[in-house]
């Protein structure tokens, strides 16, 4: 007599379950209440006992499949008459090929959405290094135990885990493939390719090509991971274009030189070049509002506030605190805000809201002597201004060569909304404000 084995209801609000593992094969004898298979829902795993003693005659739902409760997942022949089931491979000492319908996928089917861009599977073409060529085999004690039990040579198994580590799944896939060395799989990790925020953590080449010679592996800090994710997401989302201009800042350099000490004595805060550039950018943003914007699908969000993010390099990364309402501050107010935010960024005392709601960003590769930089747009902005180092250069003025303090200005912008014509006019506006500086600073 055949007894149905059904997907049990593990709770009132549970209407389906995923079979994670069959503990018996078709043809195996089972005792009533002996664990028969394992299921998983959310964070809960459960072993499900056999409802009757007999022979497991058929498995209808394979590992990795999710089915509604009460679905018949297997049949038990309770009188034992059907013990020799035609389709079931006899239990043998060697790993038997999996029954055709049951060929288990290395991962549960639902957990592996197709890669977003076909191009990303390109590294798969690179052949995996032969297993023997790798030095030490990376595996867990559990995996080694499984390998011993199933008499598998781990050197023949291709590890898909971190650092080529051989996982339990790799062993199962190996067995399912009849014990033949598995074909190389795409290096793209299966983890959530659909979630754009995670693409930064992909590895572009098969992992085994990363680990060679002498090395040390350090985990990224949370900040490093966030930076990586934001940068890759920005490059993927925005159509980056770069424009370059230069400005003669001789006047500003001499103004700062003259007033530096007086400024600090009078206000108690240091005079830097940053507020000059913020002011010039604010003026340009007023004139060209599409640069002070965000994109939401097919809508452009034109921000009425001008909140300027200033990239601050830290020993442990980078952060972009925001000068809120930059258009409403006077020169001293801008300088105070910049010094205060930078200081608190370096001492880890920024509040979360102080790195949010920026509408435009400025970064200063010049601080490290860089002539110019082509920065990545800080999302959800559509543009970022890069400031090169200020240096004296020979410049032609009225057919004479003069020595002037010059700076390269670069603008990275999102071509989805900002065109080159606007970008160059925007930069030119900044240049004119800087060159014709008229605002009193004290």
């Amino acid at each position: 007599m055949a007894v149905d084995v059904v997907m049990p209801q593990m709770g009132e609000s549970i209407f389906e379950g995923t079979i994670t593992k069959w503990l018996k094969k078709p043809g195996d004898k089972v005792e009533r209440d002996e664990p028969l298979f394992e299921i998983s829902t959310d964070k809960v795993d459960a072993e499900i006992p056999a409802p009757a003693s007999g022979t497991l005659s058929e498995i209808k739902v394979t590992e990795g499949q999710t089915v509604p409760i009460k679905t018949v997942v297997a049949l038990i022949d309770s009188d034992g008459a059907g013990a020799a089931v035609a389709a079931a491979p006899a239990p043998a000492e060697k790993p038997a090929p999996a029954p055709a319908p049951a060929a288990p996928a290395p991962e549960p089917v639902a957990a592996v959405p197709a890669p977003v861009a076909p191009a990303r599977s390109a590294p798969a073409a690179a052949p995996a290094a032969p297993a023997e060529a790798r030095g030490r085999i990376r595996s867990s004690p559990l995996v080694r135990k499984m390998a011993r039990e199933q008499q598998i040579d781990l050197a023949q198994v291709r590890g898909t885990g971190a650092g080529g580590r051989i996982s339990k799944r790799d062993i199962e896939a190996f067995v399912a493939a009849g014990g033949v060395a598995a074909a190389p799989r795409p290096a793209t990790p299966a983890a959530a390719p659909g979630a754009p925020a995670h693409v930064a953590l992909e590895v572009a080449v098969p992992r085994e090509r990363l680990y060679f010679g002498r090395y040390e592996v350090e985990p990224m800090s949370v900040m490093r991971q966030r930076i990586a994710e934001h940068m890759v997401a920005s490059k993927r989302v925005s159509a980056h274009v770069y424009s370059v201009d230069e400005a003669d800042v001789t006047k500003i350099v001499s103004l700062r030189g003259k007033l530096k000490d007086q400024f600090e004595a009078q206000t108690g805060t240091k005079l830097t070049f940053m507020p000059f550039f913020i002011r010039a950018a604010v003026e340009a943003l007023r004139k060209y509002p599409t640069v002070n914007a965000s994109i939401d699908g097919t809508n452009v969000v034109l921000h009425r506030d001008i909140n300027v993010g200033i990239a601050v390099a830290l020993d442990w990364g980078l952060i972009v605190p925001v000068v809120k309402g930059a258009d409403e501050k006077n020169f001293l107010g801008l300088q105070r805000a910049v010094n205060d935010l930078a200081e608190r960024a370096r001492t880890k005392r920024l509040k979360p809201e102080e790195v949010q709601e920026g509408t435009f960003s400025i970064t200063n590769p010049g601080v490290f002597g860089g002539l110019m930089g082509l920065p990545v747009i800080n999302q959800p902005n559509v543009a970022i201004l890069g400031l090169g180092t200020i240096q004296k250069r020979p410049v032609v003025i009225d057919d004479a060569i003069a020595i002037r303090s010059m700076v390269y200005l670069t603008l990275s912008y999102d071509h989805r909304v900002v065109d080159g014509a606007i970008a160059h006019q925007f930069l030119h506006h900044i240049k004119k404000t800087l060159e014709g500086w008229a605002e009193p600073i004290l």
Partner: protein, 240 residues
């Protein structure tokens, strides 16, 4: 009112604690003992759930070794997580067949006990829709995980349980992708309170809230007494 034994194991390795759970679950299934709540702390260990992805362990085996962090695959649900000093582990060995046959209800009750115990310290913790565990919103609105839950059932008897960050050194979570969730951080009671707090201060609150939520009369026994009870019961059953 049903009685639940509560046993404080102190700092105990992940392996021995798991072995004890397994024996207790066997005894519980056999009806040899009643419900038990084990409480302990573990030395540094990274554990990988049955459905966990090994790549969610960021650190190489070598780095884990260098840092004195053990690695342990387990049969609980969930992905990868970290346990270490300052984190209160609770392993309830309950027979849901005698309480309520609903594993989701069980998980929600555990969350409820942890939320109430957090509230005893003035912390407003909550559930995150679609995810398991206990979460707290940062001022910016981003949720951070205060406690993780991963359980296993065999014939309605639970093993594994929850891990609540009292004063955990959160830097160790950088070694992994906690629970496979990359975009959410972790936090601790100590960090939320901005003052030093240890497991001993949190534990009695948790026990009381656990008792309240499940309607248990808690009876505190030492690990030695627990062993005696298991053995005595085994002897009784053997002679019967």
């Amino acid at each position: 009112m049903k009685t639940c034994l509560v046993v404080e194991l102190g700092v105990v390795g992940y392996g021995p604690a798991w072995e004890l759970q397994r024996r207790l679950a066997q005894a519980r299934k056999a009806g040899a003992i009643g419900d038990v709540l084990l409480l302990c702390e573990h030395p540094h260990v990274v554990t990988l759930g049955r459905n966990g992805k090994p790549e969610h362990v960021r650190a190489s085996e070598r780095l884990l070794q260098q840092m004195g962090v053990e690695f342990h695959p387990t049969d609980r649900g969930g992905d990868v997580t970290y346990h270490g000093p300052g984190q209160l582990l609770g392993y309830p060995i309950l027979n849901l067949a005698e309480i309520r046959r609903d594993v989701v209800w069980y998980v929600r009750q555990i969350e409820e006990a942890l939320i109430r115990a957090s509230a005893d310290f003035g912390i407003e913790a909550r559930r995150e829709p679609g995810l398991t565990g206990v979460w707290v919103d940062r001022p910016s609105g981003e949720p951070e995980k205060l406690a993780a839950i991963g359980v296993h059932f065999s014939r309605w008897v639970s093993t594994h349980g929850f891990a609540y960050n009292v004063s955990t050194d959160l830097r160790y979570f950088d070694l992994i992708v906690p629970c496979g969730i990359r975009d959410k951080g972790v936090t601790s009671l100590e960090r939320l309170l901005g003052r030093a707090v240890d497991v001993a201060e949190f534990r009695p609150r948790l026990v009381e809230r656990f008792s309240e939520v499940f309607g248990f009369q808690m009876e505190s026994v030492t690990p030695g007494e627990l062993e005696e009870r298991i053995e005595k019961q085994a002897a009784v059953m053997a002679t019967n």
